[in-house]
Subunit: 355 residues, 2 copies
């Protein structure tokens, strides 16, 4: 089985290195091929998602992705900016289901800005639709307003849209995920204002008929943002659209205070997937050897589980991560008094050793 | 000067009663006229925003609004549901500037789910554009997809749009508000994905030329949601669009743990405004005499300041609220051991007495 390795920018290469070491430590051996993406893709081939990189990702059984982005590309045309690579990969590989666990490891409860009783033991799963919504809807652009109160003026505009089958397939993923957990699904919408999300709510309600063992409730996005702050542990699985999911999954990740620990998976209909840490490229600490590689290592574990069908190996990696936490090893982002501060490489060493 | 009083549904009438008592206690006397809105409007006249109610709101110098909504209206057609009243008022009265302070009173620091050091002394102002964006953009609806990968299927769709002058006017409000505070403005967008918000960012940047004494920075909405959880006190004034503002202002309010304390103002170009508490209609506690009237009383204070030009009276009301807090009086939503639990009416009594 073949894995495409796309390190990207900022801390991407450093953290990917450690995940690759971990994969190489497993009994199972994988073919891996590396290609540049994001700013690195632009430097090498003039485009954030070079053709050869896309091809590699398409041919591989799974993609392990570091992170993209750096201030130095801010002045480029939008089409050439690093983030376009991630949007292009999602769209071209049909990665419509983004799974983002927000888990607070007991050892790291102190890292959260929330009171321990509110977040300790937090374990929620946010499922974000990833190839539809206002992210890709056409038409979009800047034009002369064709109608309305500002007719004739310049305006920026975008189209939010969701087709029935797009909603059905992400709803199925969400109900199935809930079934494997506490059997509670919250569908987040803005049906009181948006036609797209009234439609979303209706379709999710219809799909629910096939999953009567799962409890479904509907929540407006503004209320969901509040409830995540007020009582996040009340959620089990949340499913929502691309735009709302972007906001809520980041908010949920930050609740844990340890976004450096959180992996993510973006899957297509056949469980082929792209795996990446939930945090960004952090150009301010790139090259300093202090980045936390654990989110990327845990992303590799998700890859083993979902795309490579190696659940046992996935368990091993996840247990190794728990072990190094229990040993008190911490990169600076999760460091607390009384623990041992280590760098990226040492953290990788420790996980390899724990395996 | 004339104030339109729209109590609405749920706890709306109870909390409005107390705010009206407070207004009647001031030296200045105001003409007040009450009309039904939301579910109450529907019951009385078959529409959440009856014509006579809209007319009253249009003729008045300011509108004091309770809250709308009740589960019993969930089955109505969307156009008849209570929330449509608030959207109709905003649009018809051109209330494009929504000011939502998120303030944590020192006495209430314990009510927050966040650690005291993260939120104590929190004082940020969120300015949400309120009459544009995807809330009102046309076209919208459910249709057969005209193009794209799902052509021919049923799809829900909406249009996000912002015209140049809409962005300019809210940017001016935001820069001017920042000028009166700590002179720091954060414009929240999603310029890396949305054409509307790249346009937004460009226009806000242009308006900034007229306010060189104010520091402007730009932040993506997903990052803003994270930073609100991570370090909310770093913000001074936030300005954003209608949809992002809906989500972020509620998240920010919930950070304080005391949304029952937070007022809001929605202003037109001439500082005519609608004033309402940031919390909802809470039908579960309606009629029990336990709702917190302070957000509504503080909304009346904002009304005195912005629309009625009575800054001194506004100060008096705000100081009276601070006084009852200092006296240890608490409605159940903000009650903590060691304080005195009171009901809606008693809280109103205390504010009146403090005046
Ligand atoms: C970089 C950006 C386009 C992207 C998104 O908005 O989806 C990011 O925020 C994410 O969540 O992966
Ligand atoms: C009730 C709803 C239409 C409204 C909105 O989305 O604007 C509410 O959430 C608010 O923020 O006032």
């Amino acid at each position: 089985m073949k894995i495409a390795i796309l390190p990207g920018d900022g801390i991407g290469p450093e953290i990917i290195d450690q995940a690759v070491r971990v994969l190489n430590t497993l009994d199972e051996k994988f073919e891996m091929e590396t290609a540049p993406v994001g700013g690195a893709g632009y430097e090498a081939h003039g485009h954030p998602l070079p053709e050869a990189t896309l091809k590699l990702a398409q041919q591989a059984d799974a993609v392990l992705f570091g992170s993209v982005g750096d201030w130095k590309y801010d002045k480029l045309d939008r089409a050439l900016r690093p983030e376009q690579a991630i949007l292009g990969l999602r769209k071209n590989l049909n990665l419509f289901a983004n799974l983002r666990p927000a888990i607070l490891y007991p050892e790291l409860a102190g890292a959260s800005t929330l009171k321990p009783e509110i977040v300790s033991g937090l374990d929620i799963l946010i499922i974000r639709e990833l190839t539809g919504d206002i992210y890709f809807g056409q038409p979009r652009g800047v034009r002369t307003a064709p109608d309305g109160a500002f007719k004739g003026e310049r305006e920026g505009f975008d189209t939010m849209r969701y087709a029935e089958s797009e909603i059905r397939r992400i709803a199925h993923v969400a109900f199935q995920a809930a079934r494997k957990r506490d059997k509670r699904l919250t569908s987040v919408d803005k049906a009181n204002v948006l036609e797209t999300f009234q439609f979303w709510k209706d379709i999710v309600t219809d799909v629910h008929k096939e999953y009567q063992d799962v409890t479904l409730d509907h929540m407006y996005v503004d209320n969901a943002a509040m409830q995540l702050v007020r009582a996040p542990k009340k959620f089990d699985v949340i499913v929502t659209g691309n735009m709302f999911g972007d906001i809520l999954s980041d908010a949920a990740a930050m609740l844990t205070g340890s976004i450096g620990m959180l992996p993510s998976a973006s899957l297509d209909a056949n469980n082929k997937g792209l795996y990446e840490p939930s945090h960004g490229s952090a150009p301010d600490i790139a090259g300093k050897g202090v980045a936390n590689p654990l989110a990327t290592i845990l992303s590799a574990a998700m890859m083993l589980r979902f795309s490579l069908n190696k659940a046992e190996q996935a368990d091993r990696v996840e247990n190794a991560v728990k072990k190094v936490l229990a040993q008190g090893l911490r990169t600076p982002d999760i460091y607390e008094e009384g623990t041992t501060k280590v760098g990226t490489q040492q953290m990788g060493d420790a996980v390899v050793k724990a395996l």
